[in-house]
């Protein structure tokens, strides 16, 4: 049984990493070529820009995410639950859409375009769009702070600030950090937003080598380097999270009570906490709605129906597979498979560190000999490799929360191990399964570059439709497809939140 498991996991990981090896192979061949290519001087400049962008975006996301999380976890005020919900909402809007909508809107208002496309603004766009990645873990961390610990500090005469500095911040630091790393990976993998905002990052090096110099090998090599960097970040994140959960698991937690904050006093904080949601969702949605409305062309929706169906179909089928894979992984985990399988499985999760366009090229090279490019299968594979982590990590977290006693009691009552899984674990995981499904769906709806490269005939998703209109310089016509995308993703976020996906809802707090 154990050897069977090992083979299964090994095969899965091999499939997941195959595109990287295809790229590496391609890249090594380019080392000997003498063609005109990107100078290392420029490349280092792109690298530096990437670092600056990374630093700016991540600190912004941490600032927005943590302050909202701290506010909502430690204080009680009117509108708190609304803020909690709004802080997650940016998950549902791709950052390139936020950039398109704002820049187009502001230029139409007479703001010079040259003053909009710059590094600080790009950092800001990323900061608001990625703030949920920080908000979610830090909110759980702040919420889980032991009430007795905080009470003791207060009794010992510590001020609010000292409590924050000495207790709250250190205990939540790891979660904030882990969220920040995830946000950073998204920044590194992005091309659409930075391209539009005229920022030259490492991704530009990849695409300029390929498209400008016709140097696919060099492009692959740069992509592998990016993958290694993101991969390291992801590994780091997993480690930080693991250590953190270890530190907390031993302690029994008495929940703290939230401090009442008078409405007037809460206003400035409220406003600050609202910035991400306003900038990334509310205003863009209003601008786009106004555009659709002012055009009053009933036909404009007709062109969105088929892409919307394709998007939904593709997202749901792939997410089913991701969820099933996630369950399988967690099942393997639960069966004490040994260190080898564990580390293998962690390597498999690295698919998340591959930017979509690069993953697309790797898969293209791999799938072509089997005539599988341009097949739904190829796309499914791409989505699974890229997003499997989301399913696995969501389910893993939920599974860890189920006490082992349940399993043992079921076994004592005569259940087989399959019976335990089917009749005890699965029903308990129902909500988490739905959440993993929805979260994966949202990411697939937003995915663009891999879909573009690998898609079959007559196959258009909402993201592709939006991108094509935008690159044909018809930004105002992107409104219906953009709105449809936002609506889909936000509905997803809403339902997932209701199901307790983010551990933010009241029920999941009091249920513990």
């Amino acid at each position: 049984m154990k050897i069977f498991l090992q083979i299964f996991v090994f095969a899965l990981v091999a499939i997941f990493l195959a595109p990287v090896f295809a790229l590496l192979n391609e890249g090594v061949q380019s080392l000997v070529s003498e063609k005109a290519t990107l100078s290392s001087d420029l490349l280092s400049r792109y690298g530096l820009t990437s670092l600056l962008l990374l630093a700016g975006s991540v600190s912004g996301a941490v600032l927005f995410g943590t302050s909202a999380a701290y506010l909502c976890a430690r204080f009680d005020f009117r509108g708190r639950r609304l803020i909690q919900w709004l802080s997650i909402l940016p998950l549902g809007v791709p950052s390139y859409l936020v950039a398109y909508t704002w820049v187009d809107f502001l230029v139409d208002q007479g703001v010079p375009g040259g003053s909009l496309r710059n590094l600080p603004n790009t950092c800001f766009v990323f900061a608001v769009c990625l703030s949920p990645y920080v908000f979610l873990p830090s909110f759980s961390a702040f919420s889980a702070l032991s009430g007795s610990l905080l009470e003791s500090a207060k009794l010992l005469g510590k001020s609010q600030f000292e409590i924050f500095r000495l207790i709250e911040f250190p205990l939540a630091r790891a979660s904030m950090f882990a969220g920040g790393i995830l946000a950073g990976m998204e920044v590194l993998a992005d091309f659409g937003t930075v391209d539009f905002m005229a920022i030259d990052t490492w991704s530009k090096g990849i695409y300029r080598s390929w498209f400008g110099y016709g140097d696919r090998g060099r492009a692959s090599l740069l992509a592998v380097i990016l993958f290694l960097i993101s991969g390291t970040l992801l590994f780091w994140e997993t480690n930080v999270r693991a250590k953190n959960s270890l530190a907390r698991s031993g302690r029994s937690v008495s929940l703290h009570t939230r401090k009442k904050l008078p409405f007037i006093k809460s206003l400035p904080f409220l406003f600050f906490a609202l910035i991400p949601a306003l900038v990334s969702c509310v205003f863009p949605a209003l601008i786009l709605t106004q555009r659709v409305y002012s055009k009053s062309d009933p036909e404009q929706w007709a062109s969105v129906v088929s892409p919307a169906l394709t998007t939904l179909g593709m997202a749901s089928v792939s997410s089913v597979i991701v969820v099933v894979l996630g369950l399988a992984m967690v099942l393997i985990w639960r069966s004490n498979p040994g260190k080898f399988v564990r580390s293998l499985a962690r390597i498999g999760a690295l698919g998340y560190a591959l930017p979509g366009g690069v993953l697309g090229l790797g898969l293209l090279i791999l799938l072509a000999p089997f005539s599988l490019t341009g097949s739904v299968f190829g796309l499914l594979l791409a989505y699974c490799i890229r997003f499997a982590t989301i399913g696995t990590s969501t389910l893993e977290a939920a599974w860890l929360a189920i006490p082992r006693v349940y399993d043992e009691q079921a076994r004592l009552l005569g259940c087989t191990s399959w019976g335990v899984f089917n009749r005890v674990t699965l029903p308990l995981l129902q909500n988490s399964i739905a959440c993993a499904f929805i979260l994966t769906c949202i990411d697939i709806v937003k995915e663009l570059p891999a879909t573009m490269l690998l898609r079959p005939f007559n196959f258009e998703t909402l993201a592709i439709r939006t991108y094509n209109l935008a690159s044909d310089e018809r930004l105002s016509e992107t409104a219906p497809s953009s709105l449809a995308m936002i609506a889909l993703c936000m509905t997803g976020v809403f339902v997932a939140e209701k199901l307790g996906a983010f551990g933010v809802s009241e029920r999941s707090r009091s249920g513990k």
């Binding site: 230029v107 010079p112 005229a198 300029r208 939904l312 089928v317 090229l361 490019t373």
Partner: protein, 342 residues
Amino acid sequence: MLKRIIISLLGSAVVSFAAHSESSKKSLNIYTTRHYEADVTLAKDFEKKTGIAVNIVQIKEPAQLLARVLEEKNSTQADLVITTDVGNLWRAAEAGLFQPLASEAINKAVPAALRDSNGLWTGLAMRVRLIAYNKEKVKPEQVARLEDLAAPALKGRVLVRSSNHVYNQSLAATFLAASGRDALMTWSKGVTANLARKPQGGDTDQIKAIAAGEGDVAIVNSYYVARLLDSKNSADKELMKNISIVFPNQKDRGAHVNVSGGGITRHAKNAAHARQFLEYLVSKEGQEIFASASKEYPVRSDVAAPAVLKAYGEPKLDLKGLSAIGNFTPEAVKVLDEAGWR
């Protein structure tokens, strides 16, 4: 329990996918980089006339599209490859992607300069890269040649998109072919020094920037100008109120022109349909759709240019430059990089 979950998840997936099955006997499979509404109109019209179902994969970036066909080798489903920019047609032909067109109708309709010399691909529509300027601040003779954009008088007034874009890469390639590396270097350094702002946005954004007073002169493609001039939207027309255009280099090599074109793949399973479609695209009817719907210049001499552009005269085009684009692009990009044109 597991069953119930899987069934309900799969159920939702299947329902939304049901809309996506189709079957047809006579068909034609196209890979294209073009993302214009005109292409959809043309395909639909062809479908109606011939009963041949047209299936399309569109990949915006030519290098990616070529990578896909090249990797697919003889198992490719593409019968026809259509791409913007003659450099990509050249690269595709070099890579042995095409079979001879072998069509009298195409040879008759399209001038030899707009076809491959070995008969592997044909041009379908043209765009001219021209100079748009603020009528109140610039005299047309100040920007009669591309070279003029590097003149010190235009310091801080020139607008152009990033050199990431193939429009500028091809333009630089023809410049390189016509005047040599040093001239291109001097020119691109001059343009870079004259920039009103960091290269950014698309061509329409450059026009908007002239209208907003961020700069006075811009390099843009003809069809973007035509689209704004012809727009039903009053704000678009307002943009063009103070803007006029010149076709550059009329007294020497002619204005930089680029071609969208197509070729039949070597492993095409429906080569006859592909040929039929290309013949339709270069027919009078097809060319008229290119001119009216996407505002491109027709490749046929007996079909009129987009009406709004005709008002600015009949440009002399740098047809000789076309054949240089493929070969010279990597070197040209290198020069642009060195000159600091982002």
